[in-house]
Amino acid sequence: MVQKKPKDYWKSLQQRDDGTIALPVAGDEFVEVPQDERRGVSRRDFLAAAGFTFGSMALTGCTRAPVEKAIPYLVQPEAIIPGRATYYASTCGACSAGCGILAKNRDGRTIKLEGNPDHPISRGGLCAIGQASVLGLYDSNRLRNSLHKNAPSTWAESDSQIAARLDVIRSNKGAVRVLTGPITSPTARRAVDSFVKTFPDAQHITYDVLSSAAIVQAHERTHERRVLPRYRFDKAEVIVSFDADFLGTWISPVAFAMDWSAGRRADAAPDQFSYHAQFEGRVSVTGAKADRRVRVAPGEAGVVMSHLASRLAQRAGEALDTTGLAPCPIDSHVLDDVANRLWHARGKSLVVCGSQSADEQVLCNFLNHLLGNYGQSLDLEDSADRICHDDEAVQSLIQELASGSVAALFVHGVNPVYDLPNGAAVENAISKAHMFVSLADRVDETSKLATFVCPDHHFLEAWGDHDVGDGSISFFQPTMRPLHDTRSMLESLSIWSGKLRLAQDLVRETTQGRVLWDEAIHNGFAKATSVAVATASFRSGSVKAVLGIEQVPADKLTLVLYPKVSMLDGRGASNPWLQEMPDPISKVVWDNYASLSEATAARLNVGAGDVVRIGLSEADGAANALELPVLIQPGQHDQVVAIALGYGKEESARFAKLGPQWIERKELLGENGLVGTSAAGLLSYRDGTLRLSGASVTVSATRRKHQLACTQDYHNIEVPESLTVLGMDRRRPMVQETTLAGYKRDGKLPQHGHGTHHPDLGELWADDHKYEGHHWGMAVDLTACTGCSACVVACQIENNVPVVGRDEVQRKRIMHWLRIDRYYCDNDGDVDVLHQPMMCQHCDHAPCETVCPVLATVHGEEGLNQQAYNRCVGTRYCANNCPYKVRRFNWFEYARDDTLANQALNPDVTVRSRGVMEKCSFCVQRIEAARLESKQQGRSIADGDIQPACQQSCPARAIVFGDMNDPESAVSKLMARGRHYRLLEETNVRPSVGYLGLVRNRDENKDQSHHG
């Protein structure tokens, strides 16, 4: 029998090649700053001498209590109880997906967003951007009043001037243009329409850089309906995605992740586990989860789809003219296999495509049509005419503006000078508008040109609605009183249309008679209309194969611009939580970069951190070229250079002063004085649409370096060199995976028990910790976890985790209590990507507890590993002794001088000060709240009463918390499953967190032959 070699998991290329991560980056957990010998009195001597003085000063100060005031309301508002939170159901306005939220309002301030479990779209999940949007409320860059020519103005003044000018425009028949982002609100659409109708010559134009317009155009061609289908990933047994990052950023990722994970249940019958193939050029979050990931450059995708379509059309007996079709750029056996699987899952499969080319989208529709998926796994029952972006209209608007013939321009929700290619020309064109009114909530690249800035509310302060598409309307309600003198866009437009209408009335009017208002506002959504099932039939004549591969010259690469999970098109750029969220794949923070494959980087003779110059082939002008540091991305297509959008925004200059201000501090921003570099200049118009990918670019080295802050090598779990025996693998089996077939047969993980061949490891504290009541534990399902990092941001908000800035991250001082480790694994010449959320494991035999000299970290009666901040003296012994590297030390009093942003702090969690250790507490404040609640109601805590912030937010439902002493609890049931394992079991620390091994729907034999 062939000895099976365990799979090789690695975090970085260095670890793969050398077997370890070299010093000093990973070896020393804390990188110390060497003391400067030249200074006269050393720090230690000074402290020794100063101790007496400051000690006695402290004692003299102890004789008087500081005076604290308690200032109650003058008149007590009804329903506000100090210290108790109120939750308002509303809708997330951070992107156009429209997930349901429950906004937690504590003493008049909105401090946390939770997913609304009843909401038809999100069903309880909320992504990282949605979670972080609450900080946008307290963003000190928000305008506090309206502006006239960049000087503060009053609403009355601005309104009267705007109204006067509009009256002149109306009588002169001047051109009025309204430019907005995608409008998903029926009320906003009505408001814009009626505003536009008050002018003889007015037009409403929308655009979205992350546009789904091609899908809508394709359905117009194939079904004669301008709709965006509703995708049902839970109903698909075979999912094939062509570059659609549906678990990360595509259309409605929270809803899709929820559906996708519902369709992948390894512990149910085998037919409840879908097969997912991803064809993509870069490495996306979705590709990381796929059962088969195929590298396809953007220019090749159309041909691959045509080949797939011709195979399926043959079987379905439909015609597809493939004369002149280029040979298949990928292994045709792979395509045969995918075609076979799709054909056998007719009506239960789903093909999605993220391309912005309508031709490719038509092919995608054709594939779904051949497979009979319409009406099954995707349907056209979309009641909302949501997507009406027209990139051609934007181009002609800019020409019109440049000619100076636009009398008034209104802009809401977009930042064209930043978003669109050739920003300088857009800026020049916009400045020629006779009057430019911006409704932006801040001064940005575009609104700084405005004659008037009339700031809109933050979505958490405003009334509004969102068309879900299935006939439901999701409502926005104010979750707190507006902080500043801002005004709802609905009200602004109504005033300029002639008469003020209150936003609440306008929203209510839209669904008047169709929903019960009070109930709808209470729930956050309501069914407004029933949608008739679409009877649109497929027009086969509309289908044309994409025949040719776009040839890229040998010295050039294909560009892939992509929205990043934390940043999208740049809407997260002013949010420090999102800037410091490590990218799910690259683990880089505070920067964007040019991703290259290993082979391509070697060919170009550049290494990680080398700055390269990227220019569009056609223009090649200096204006469009940009310089970015290289990141070597395993698993990426050799022909592709991938760059994230959303960086290099002017407002990111504000982060220059972020983090601790100390003597060894380094510059936080790039050479351009901003966070990252804007890639908008590389966007291109083709066939009238704005394309993110496909352009040919030149990439050349500049011989400069820019060190990226990347957390992938931090908190590394390896056997120290001094303890290794010759030939021993220094890595530990942290992530474990199996194939669906193997799991069905064995009922356990192949490596189960790996490293546990040892005599019985005894109980350490049998008499001390009996766990007679509850014993809290957590199970994390690696099959479901997509690495999207919603939990990381949710944890940060809930637990007042500070942001430290790029420089401190490079010193390994990132403070996140919950990190997501990302591992790579070689697979047949390709790499697999695995994610593993890692938080305090609350060990029953916790090594941190036994080394604390002051008993600041001790074991609780219910298994919690508790950290008493006020007792901690900062020896850091505990962090040193933690095998999972989950403890975080406060090296500084992290900047809390932004008093506005401080309003987002959770009053139920201590704000830690300098010199103390902190770590995941299992959201003990939520445990305590549930305990007190149940005690007062005279019952015991029910399973599901306690949801830590990470579990609450998870769109894939990968995290489950509960009582391990209760055999009926969800967590106990998960822990009883065959693929459950705990980390580093051989050390006998007995963690309370368990993991459910990753299951991929793969052919077991192939896997064995490869690793045998």
Partner: protein, 222 residues
């Protein structure tokens, strides 16, 4: 720049002189000395000389009439001024001084004047009310800034509602407030004092019922 041992000696000398100075300062206040964080006996002067003895002791108003959220929230709640106005819209002075004015007015054969105690006047000023209890036009209302007496450090999460619903009497922690003219802190509110009580009730129960008072650090510190 200071260099080497000489520099350190100079610096130490300066600091030790400072230490001696501080010790001299400390000596004058030894009587008031207590450990950091312990404010036992603290009885600050309040903006309005509100008497708990009168209201809770003599008039027998329930504690939770004013501290209304003690049974529902972490905070017992300092009553809003509107709660005072429930009675003091009508009661503007002590019974004694109103009666005295009444008698005096009868003697002098005139209508009795409206009597307003100087302390209650501060309440009316907070609402910017005139003699007839109507809001004074153009005057700003301002909430009353009470001085907190029982003040726990920020890293302690004490929850009133659990203790109140478990049946712990208010006086157990706050002392006999109903006898106090000006409220003072009776107990030292130290962690040892909390934990002792938790241990005691776990042993003997509370009000005849057995209770489960946690001794975990994280019951209060998180």
């Amino acid at each position: 720049m200071l260099t080497g041992k000489k520099g350190l000696r100079n610096l130490t000398a300066v600091l030790l002189i400072g230490a001696a100075f501080n010790a001299a300062l400390l000596a004058t206040r030894l009587g008031a000395f207590h450990l950091p964080g312990n404010h036992q006996g603290y009885a600050p002067k309040q903006p309005i000389a509100y008497s708990h003895r009168l209201h809770a002791g003599e008039l027998l108003i329930d504690c939770q009439y004013c501290h209304y959220s003690a049974s529902t929230s972490r905070h017992a709640g300092i009553p809003a001024a509107s709660v005072c106005m429930n009675c003091h819209k009508f009661v503007t002075d002590t019974l004694g001084s109103v009666r005295a004015e009444d008698e005096k007015a009868e003697e002098e054969g005139r209508k009795p004047r409206r009597m307003v105690s100087p302390e209650l006047q501060k309440l009316y000023d907070a609402f910017a009310l005139d003699e007839e209890m109507k809001p004074k036009p153009g005057e700003q209302q301002s909430p009353i800034e009470w001085i907190k007496v029982h003040n726990l450090p920020d890293y302690v999460y004490f929850n009133h509602s659990t203790h109140v619903t478990a049946g712990v009497a208010c006086q157990k922690c706050h002392g006999a407030v109903e006898t106090m003219e000006r409220v003072s802190q009776v107990e030292d509110l130290s962690m040892g004092w909390c934990v002792n009580c938790h241990r005691d009730v776990n042993r003997v129960g509370l009000g005849g019922k057995s209770v489960d008072a946690s001794l975990d650090c994280a019951a209060c510190h998180y």
